[in-house]
Amino acid sequence: MEALGIELLNGLGLFATLGIVALGLGIVFGLMGVINLAHGEFVMIGAYVAYLVQDGGLNYWLAIPAAAVVLFFVGSAVEMVLIRRIYQKPELTILATFGLSIVLRQLAEILFSKNSRKVSNPIPGATDVFGITFPTYRLVLIVVATLIVVAVLLLFTKSRFGLTVRAIVANRGLAESSGIRTSVANILAFGIGAAAAGVAGVLVAPLVSVDSQIGLSYLPGAFLVVIVGGFTRLWGVVIGAAIVAAVQTGVTHYVDAVWAQIAALVLAVVMLQLSRSGSREVTI
């Protein structure tokens, strides 16, 4: 019973991490059709921001707003410099963001060397949840990540900005013809997507060793989530994260971790096949 409870909390932790990492990917893909292979490096930058904040003697939690701001500007700049001219060419956006991911990793190695850095746990210790002892920081991570995902989703679905974004997704040409500056919305969406990745990086930093490679470990899972959740609705990220987390945790529990990865991949392939029929319509 207790083992199951721990798995449940592990699963929730995976769900929250996957959700917040996949959020930005989902936004950028859903809105602009861009497959951003540098998204994992945005997570990496966020983790380094956490390291720098702590290293500078500041409170760890300050890293969340700091990373959000830094990554918002990084994301906006990437949109303006790299992506803007190649929206119509998906294969170029993949190549460009792949190139960017290499450059960002190299940059991290130049700045921080190949040695990994340690971000210390801001809330050490454990808490009793219904008789199960679980690390407190992981519980906080579940809550904070979920809150941030929900807040961003509400921004995109309920606010005026969200309405504008939905109009652009529905019909970009008509949106422009209604006076919406779609180029500005693109920058904001890219910036917000990157900011979410940065916050994800801050949140996972105390649980891992921070080095230039950490983005690589988050990207495949995040893509799985976006694929499983479907591309048409942003809330799909939550559903996708829930399904992937449930499958991975479940299979890990009952079989082992390798089969969990395989099961998640099979799931993604099945979802891709199912979604083939409902392809995206582009209109002017």
Binding site: R166, A167, E176, S177, S178
Partner: protein, 228 residues
């Protein structure tokens, strides 16, 4: 406000559809643009709005070159268009469509009580589920009720019941009285005759006739061009 097109060329993927159109429209007048199917009327609308790039020629708004402006920038400068097809965000509600055109929820009843009246109180219906005629009327209202100085309307009466054609005609007439300009692309020749100050006839991507409505020969020339 005045929009000037000079020697406008545009097309699709290297296949030209406009072969040097020159025309102008200004505030306070209604210009009826007519032509057979496929001569490039809708292409002209897209080009004037900036949805299709100009391959040659120039567009001036009050003597300022706008050829490379984004559509949204033109809209902010006072230009608007209604489209022949897909003039509404299908997946969004009536209320959201109005909101995107600048009518906040508290201003929407005032718009819908004027026209299209049948949509009063139906703000939460998805626009894609409105009937074809209802969609056309709502799209026209979205443009005519803004404060745009120049409005381009691509066959706004297509599929409307006769009484709604008259209602829409009244609103277009009112727009002119309020000092705004309308470029009216219309197959409904009776409506064009009722409203137009000037006529433009397009054939194969070129302007082949341009005359004031009181030119005694224009009617026979239009009939000949349109084979009616």
């Amino acid at each position: 406000m005045r929009l000037n097109a000079t020697n406008l060329h545009a097309g699709y993927g290297g296949v030209p559809a406009l072969h040097g159109i020159s025309m102008e429209i200004q505030s306070g007048e209604i210009v009826a643009l007519v032509g057979r199917n496929g001569v490039g009327k809708t292409t002209l609308v897209k080009t004037l709005m900036g949805l299709l790039p100009v391959t040659d020629g120039e567009l001036l708004l009050d003597d300022q070159p706008i050829t490379n402006w984004a559509p949204s920038k033109r809209v902010r400068a006072g230009l608007r268009a209604t489209f022949q097809e897909k003039g509404l965000f299908q997946e969004l509600t009536v209320g959201e469509n109005l909101r995107l055109n600048g009518f906040e929820p508290n201003a929407q009843d005032a718009v819908l009580e004027q026209f299209p009246k049948s949509l009063s109180g139906r703000q939460s219906q998805r626009a894609g589920t409105l009937s074809g005629g209802e969609q056309k009327m709502l799209a026209a209202a979205c443009a005519l009720k803004t404060d745009a100085s120049l409005i381009i309307m691509d066959e706004p009466t297509e599929g409307l019941q006769p009484s709604n054609v008259e209602v829409l005609g009244d609103h277009i007439d009112n727009a002119r009285s309020a000092g705004r300009g309308v470029l009216l692309i219309e197959q409904h020749i009776a409506l064009a005759n009722r409203l137009a100050d000037r006529f433009i006839v397009v054939e194969k991507g070129r302007v082949v006739e341009a005359s004031p409505a009181d030119d005694p020969t224009i009617q026979t020339r239009i009939k000949k061009r349109l084979a009616i």
